[in-house]
């Protein structure tokens, strides 16, 4: 599984931002470091056909909302099959975020890996189905 993402949290309003920022966008207070699971949902996406200098066309961009509400911009290798609400995993390579669309098998594999060994696996899969952890979460809430 991809590494957790470095974020920061406002001690006053608990807002999370990625990448980390020193001051909360809503309050003039110092944010504290946080780590977030690299999993989220596509808020919107686009393909840029005349990207600025230094980028190759077509440039696939997505705005992804992580569990917990932090949003981040990501590059992707394609947007085929991606929809608003699609579940993606996010990976940071040289401090640049990339999203990859997770199909059913990817998700199953992810749960498998997350669940660890033996009996935990079954329990974890069961829990994830019950909790509907891949369902849309309320927006703008921590």
């Amino acid at each position: 599984m991809a590494e957790q993402l470095r974020a920061s949290r406002c001690p006053r309003c608990r807002r999370l931002v990625v990448p980390p920022a020193s001051i909360c966008p809503d309050h003039p207070v110092r944010m504290v470091a946080a780590l977030l699971p690299p999993l989220g949902e596509v808020v919107s996406f686009t393909t840029l056909h005349s990207p600025p200098e230094g980028f190759r066309a077509p440039l696939h961009l997505a705005l992804v909302e992580l569990q917990g509400g932090a949003r981040l911009f990501c590059h992707g290798s394609a947007t085929e099959g991606v929809k608003i609400g699609s579940h993606v995993s996010v990976e940071a390579v040289d401090s640049v975020f990339y999203f990859s669309h997770m199909g059913f098998t990817d998700r199953a594999r992810l749960f498998w890996r997350r669940a660890g060994a033996g009996g935990e696996r079954v329990a974890a899969i069961g829990k994830s189905v019950v909790k509907g952890m891949w369902n849309r979460r309320p927006r703008g809430e921590d």
Binding site: V17, V18, P19, P25, V43, S44, F45, T46, T47, L48, H49, S50, P51, P52, E53, G54, F55, L59, L61, L63, G69, A70, R71, L72, F73, C74, H75, T79, I84, V96, R139, G140
Partner: protein, 372 residues
């Protein structure tokens, strides 16, 4: 607070330099007002340093206009700089500093190649997001997809905004584009930032626009002006389908005016990208939530409709010389309210202008009212 006079250049590809465009608009407004020497000057230019290599723009324009000893300011809030200058002038008069202030804005862009222009405009984007290759059209593309998905706007409704505004531009001799486009042409134009297409986007234009504000009673009153703000980082926002900055600006302007959206009879809206007109009509309360697409298809916002929007052609057809744009909206509405919008005149006493700065980080709503 009254508008004593207004003037603007024809927008489009112009051979004149920025100083000359600004001077043409300013002199027209001063002549229109019958005021040769305003107490102060406020100049709006978004980025003359990079577009033209010139700076110290307040003083530069003051001297160019023969007003070297008149105190001058330069004001900047990205693509809404023009209205920010109107606000600065309004505030200075309201504070009792001056009795008349000339507000002029302009931009000269077409002499540079499009990628360079995009790069300069792109400096108003959050630097982290810009490092991903986001441009204004890219961010607008994300917003367009989100409004289509969450608000059920159709590509046809969005495209009709461009068709309508081009039809209005045909009737405006100051417009960059004075030719009509068909719905098919808009919907089949090339993709810029999926699902946004070329004909959904405003052009790159040169031009200048000016108004003269005064404490003396004239034909048109500035009834209200409001500013609203939002995060520069789009990732910090929880909603892509409306602009908080417009909503806050509208609320402030209506509060100052003492009346609401129901009294507005004509509007100029910041349609840098066609879906922004639909979003903004709802953010200002001019059209009920969820109804802007339908209202546009039904012709409600066309000249002759219930609420004519962008009689000038909007940013789409009149053009968008950045810092001139917000002022040119007020020029158009001043002409509408004084019966001088030849060829596109509508019946109206109350008008609204809405301007977007950057990706809706610093927006303005201005309300004008004609004297009875």
């Amino acid at each position: 607070m009254w508008i004593a006079g207004a003037g603007m250049t024809r927008f489009g590809r112009r051979d004149e330099n920025l100083q000359d465009l600004i001077a043409e608009a300013a002199l027209a407004a001063m002549h229109d007002a019958g005021i040769e020497r305003p107490d102060a000057l406020v100049v709006a230019a978004m980025n003359p340093e990079e577009f033209t290599g010139e700076g110290n723009y307040g003083s530069l324009i003051a001297t160019r206009l023969g007003l070297s000893y008149v105190p001058a300011l330069r004001v900047e809030t990205a693509t809404s700089s023009g209205v920010a200058a109107v606000y600065a002038a309004f505030a200075a008069i309201a504070a009792g500093f001056h009795r008349s202030v000339l507000v002029v804005g302009g931009e000269k862009m077409t002499h540079l190649a499009t990628p360079r222009v995009s790069e300069i405009i792109g400096r108003s984007i959050d630097p982290h997001e810009k490092s991903y290759g986001t441009t204004m059209p890219a961010l607008a593309g994300l917003i367009t997809r989100a409004v289509m998905h969450r608000r059920g706007l159709s590509l046809r409704e969005i495209s009709q905004v461009a068709v309508k505004n081009h039809a209005h531009g045909v009737r405006n001799p100051f417009a960059h584009f004075q030719e009509a486009v068909t719905l098919e042409a808009v919907m089949e134009s090339r993709l810029v930032a999926d699902p946004l297409r070329l004909f959904h986007c405003c052009p790159i234009s040169d031009g200048g626009a000016a108004i003269l504000l005064t404490t003396d009673r004239r034909a048109v009153r500035v009834a209200g002006i409001g500013q609203g703000a939002d995060t520069i980082a789009v990732r910090y926002r929880t909603d892509l389908t409306s602009f908080r900055a417009t909503q806050a600006a509208a609320e402030a302007a209506y509060r100052m005016a003492g009346f609401g959206a129901a009294r507005v009879e004509v509007a100029e809206i910041h349609d840098a990208f066609a879906p922004f007109e639909l979003i903004s009509l709802e953010d200002t309360g001019l059209v009920p939530a969820g109804k802007a697409g339908r209202a546009t298809l039904d012709g409600e916002t066309a000249i002759g409709g219930r609420l004519p929007v962008n009689t000038s052609g909007g940013l789409k057809a009149r053009g968008h010389p950045l810092a001139a744009t917000g002022i040119s909206q007020i020029v158009e509405l001043f002409w509408q309210l004084t019966g001088r919008a030849d060829g596109r005149q509508v019946e109206a006493r109350v008008a609204l202008a809405q301007s977007i700065g950057g990706l809706a980080t610093n927006n303005w709503v201005t309300l004008l009212e004609a004297r009875r």
